[in-house]
């Protein structure tokens, strides 16, 4: 199957064919910065083009230009070889360009059919919306993408994968010729990703041109026909995917050789620090037992929805388990609230660091000391000098550069906000640190930094629990791996048993 598409794509990319949509030397500047510098991009009908680049390379800017949200300062957009302008998002839609975003932009309280046809619903008499026609057409389109969803269902009742299908159905309903997919698999489980791949094949078959933006090389090689690489707002390479290797792509992306993504570390683990015995929750997980040692990185792998984050939240005291014991350092620990957990030396760095991590309206030092206020206060009164001291110590350790610790976190860049979150947790002197999807959605360069940092924490004797859905990361970082499936531990793997095949097999229950 793959072979076939590769051959087809090589045939298709002959000089004669006119791209359905092209960017020709497009430049976009913002006051003080050039986001895109004379980049070109060509999309052909029935072909998938992967757009690759680190965070900040200009991928999102391209999406916004193609969908009429930004106007380029130079160069032009071409449809079928003739220049066109997209002054508004509506114009881009009319020209047949549609985007499916990372987080789908749909309406939870509306029905599936209404979501599919919002803005272009079939009209009946007196210009009123013809509901039955709308339901009928929505059903047809959904079935054409293999989604067996009742169009009357409210969107909020669907899972994330089905929401993506609705977004795709919406794209089809406006007769899109170009479909832009911006990291569509970021929130999907392995099984859902497979279904998405099938769908991409389907769209290709219908002659749509697809622009596929992704961080994940395995999927790029799996479904793309050609690639375009951006670095720092400039085009650094493009061609057929069959003519390039993963290493070459990475090199183009980062502008240097990335030989070993995962840090080599001495895997030497100490005494047992945490033992969980028979943790249970009425609806989310059951029968969770494991031990964790000092200096160890314990990976938690599973499909999305396997109950990993739910269990971690319970271990951290956000939800209460219905049964089970926790022993920390040989003593039974009762954890009823996050404050208890922090007090016992457990910290949890949640997955959604933007939403759950920082308080943007508060200054850096107040964010850093927030979980440590017990130590920097006396009888409820804050000792500001000690707070500053603590914040300075940990922000310096993480090399966080800001004008002043009084700067509000909202004014920091994403990378520095992340450092604030990490500094905040390290300042509590944890024994056990739970990292939930620590590298989700960040670029390769930053990933390596996070991995180094985890290795360093473990080397200092911290016990690390890493929840991750990325197999290379799980295998590259963990000393042991616990695989969860449907709320239970499916396997505990170590040493030579830790292979991609075993992980997937246990996670999927094959």
């Amino acid at each position: 199957m793959l072979m076939e598409t590769d051959q087809k794509s090589v045939l298709a990319s002959t000089e004669s064919e006119i791209p359905v949509l092209a960017l020709n030397a497009v430049t976009k500047t913002f006051p003080g910065v050039t986001a895109l510098s004379e980049v070109s991009l060509e999309l052909f009908p029935g072909k998938v083009t992967a757009l690759v680049g680190e965070n900040g390379a200009g991928k999102s800017t391209v999406v916004k230009i193609l969908t009429g949200i930004y106007q380029p300062n130079g160069g032009q957009i071409e449809i079928d070889g003739s220049p066109i302008r997209f002054p508004t998002a509506q114009d881009a839609g009319d020209a047949g360009v549609t985007a499916i975003h990372q987080e789908t932009v749909l309406f939870d309280e509306l029905s599936v059919a209404e979501n599919v046809f919002l803005g272009h619903a079939p009209r009946g008499r007196f210009g009123l919306i013809d509901t039955s026609a709308m339901m009928e057409r929505a059903r047809e389109i959904l079935e054409s993408v293999g989604a067996h969803i009742d169009p009357r269902t409210k969107l909020k009742d669907l899972g994330i994968a089905n929401k993506h299908l609705v977004a795709i159905a919406r794209a089809l309903s406006i007769d899109a010729r170009v479909v832009i997919m911006d990291e569509p698999t970021a929130a999907l489980s392995q099984k859902e990703i497979e279904e998405l791949y099938d769908l991409v094949e389907e769209l290709k078959g219908q002659g749509k041109a697809i622009l596929f933006i992704s961080h994940k090389f395995d999927e790029i090689f799996r479904i793309a026909d050609s690639y375009t690489v951006f670095r720092d707002g400039a085009l650094v390479g493009s061609g057929a995917i069959a003519d390039v290797t993963e290493a070459e792509l990475v090199k183009m992306m980062v502008g240097r050789d990335v030989s070993q993504i995962f840090p080599d570390r001495e895997r030497k683990t100490g005494d047992e620090i945490l033992a969980v015995d028979g943790y249970e929750h009425p609806t989310e997980f059951a029968d969770i037992s494991f031990v964790l040692r000092r200096g160890e990185i314990l990976g938690f792998y599973g499909l999305v929805g396997a109950g990993r984050s739910e269990f971690m939240q319970s271990l951290f005291g956000i939800t209460r388990p219905s049964a089970g014991d926790v022993t920390i350092d040989g003593e039974r620990a009762i954890i009823r609230s996050p404050a208890d957990a922090v007090g016992k030396g457990i910290v949890y760095v949640p997955e959604d660091r933007g939403r759950q991590g920082t308080i943007t309206a508060l200054p850096i030092f107040q964010n850093v000391t927030l979980p440590s206020l017990g130590r920097t206060s006396k009888n409820g009164f804050l000792k500001l000098a000690e707070e500053f001291q603590l914040a300075r110590e940990y922000t310096e350790r993480l090399d966080l550069r800001a004008a002043s610790l009084d700067t509000d976190v909202g004014n920091l860049s994403g990378g520095n906000q992340q450092k604030v979150v990490i500094a905040k947790w390290l300042a509590t002197h944890p024994k056990i640190i739970i990292l939930d999807e620590p590298t989700k959605g960040i670029d390769i360069g930053s990933k390596a930094a996070v991995h180094e940092f985890m290795a360093e924490l473990a080397a200092q004797g911290l016990a690390v629990i890493m929840v991750s859905s990325e197999i290379p990361e799980v295998l590259g970082m963990s000393d042991r791996v616990i695989v969860m499936r449907e709320g239970r531990i499916a396997a505990e793997l170590s040493g030579d048993d830790m292979t991609p095949e075993t992980l997937v097999r246990h996670a999927a229950g094959i």
């Binding site: 404050a339 957990a341 939403r355 308080i359 409820g380 009164f381 004008a403 509000d408 004014n411």
Partner: protein, 327 residues
């Protein structure tokens, strides 16, 4: 950066107040005589007290619509106690007022915390219940000036260093709560819980309990104001301070408190209250009809919200190192 905007917003509001006074003085110079300004401040003291409590509640992403009803109910309760036991010393009356008001606030707080009912619904409900309770207690009758004991009525008017105790209480509350908000763990929790409830939860702050304390403080201040109000005006009845909760919310909004929570200061709430207080005191003396008075207050609210929205607008992501250092 945000701090600077906030500071400048308070400076801006002070400037607006000065400008307002300057305009009024051209029509009615006596208005800015120190003794008159002291009177205006004294008149505004109840609004300041309630605005401080409301500010804390709004900070935690809630709203307390029951403050005026709490004030009226507590006012009625202490009035009836005074009628029944005229000899009870004022400090005990004040203690009862604060405790009873706090208790009513706790009712709001528990409903928001434990039952997770939206605050606007909870306080709309308790507002009506409190008013109804006053009717049941008083059987709809007024308690009038001659029924109160002299000491009960004299307290807020008693002068100390040239200012009535009423004013001193407002000043003390501003100072006390400024310290609470900036120098205690509870104050920090109010900002954190409203600024980002998720992050606060992960940091070990119980957001629900923090909101409970916000309502308790708001209730306690409403109770205190309840006594001050009935003793100053020497009257207690069902509709006492009817609709006043809206002025309180307005004072907060004008004072730069973000209605979405997480941003606001005690001084800002006080300035917002003073701004409204000056308008309502000045317009009658310069012969502007009360209808204009409402329109001007409303206009001030909309202008304040527009300015706040402008200042709090998403500034976009800061990606450039340069931009970050510039802040």
């Amino acid at each position: 950066m945000q701090k600077q905007i906030l500071m400048s917003r308070e400076v801006l509001l002070t400037g607006a107040i000065v400008l307002l006074l300057a305009i009024i003085s051209t029509r009615f110079p006596a208005f800015i005589a120190p003794s008159n300004l002291a009177n205006v401040f004294n008149d505004t003291a109840p609004l300041i007290l309630l605005a401080i409590g409301q500010m804390i509640v709004i900070l935690t992403r809630c709203i307390d619509l029951s403050v005026a009803a709490n004030l009226a109910l507590t006012g009625m309760v202490v009035s009836m106690i005074n009628v029944a036991m005229p000899g009870l010393p004022v400090p005990i009356i004040i203690f009862i007022a604060v405790a009873f008001g706090a208790l009513l606030g706790m009712v709001n707080g528990v409903l928001v915390w434990k039952l997770e009912i939206p605050p606007i619904v909870v306080t709309l409900g308790t507002m009506t219940i409190f008013r109804g309770t006053i009717f049941l207690l008083s059987e709809g009758k007024w308690i009038n000036a001659h029924e109160f004991s002299e000491t009960f009525k004299a307290f807020p008017r008693t002068e100390l260093l040239g200012l009535p105790l009423m004013s001193w209480i407002a000043i003390a509350a501003v100072i006390f709560f400024s310290v609470v908000m900036s120098r205690t763990t509870l104050g920090r929790a109010f900002y954190a819980a409203g600024g980002n409830p998720h992050a606060a939860t992960y940091a070990g702050i119980d957001v629900g309990r923090t909101q409970f304390w916000a309502f308790t403080i708001s209730g306690a201040l409403a109770g205190l104001t309840g006594y001050l109000w009935v003793s100053r005006f020497a009257v207690a009845f069902v509709d006492l301070a009817g609709g006043f909760e809206l002025s309180v919310v307005a004072a907060c909004v004008i004072g730069g408190v973000a209605i979405m929570g997480g941003i606001g200061t005690v001084v800002g709430a006080m300035l917002g209250a003073l701004f409204l207080g000056i308008i309502s005191n000045a317009l009658p003396v310069v012969n502007i009809s009360p209808f204009w008075q409402l329109a001007i207050s409303g206009g001030a609210i909309i202008i304040a919200v527009a300015l706040n929205a402008q200042a709090n607008r998403e500034k976009g992501r800061i990606i450039l190192k340069r931009a970050e250092h510039a802040t």
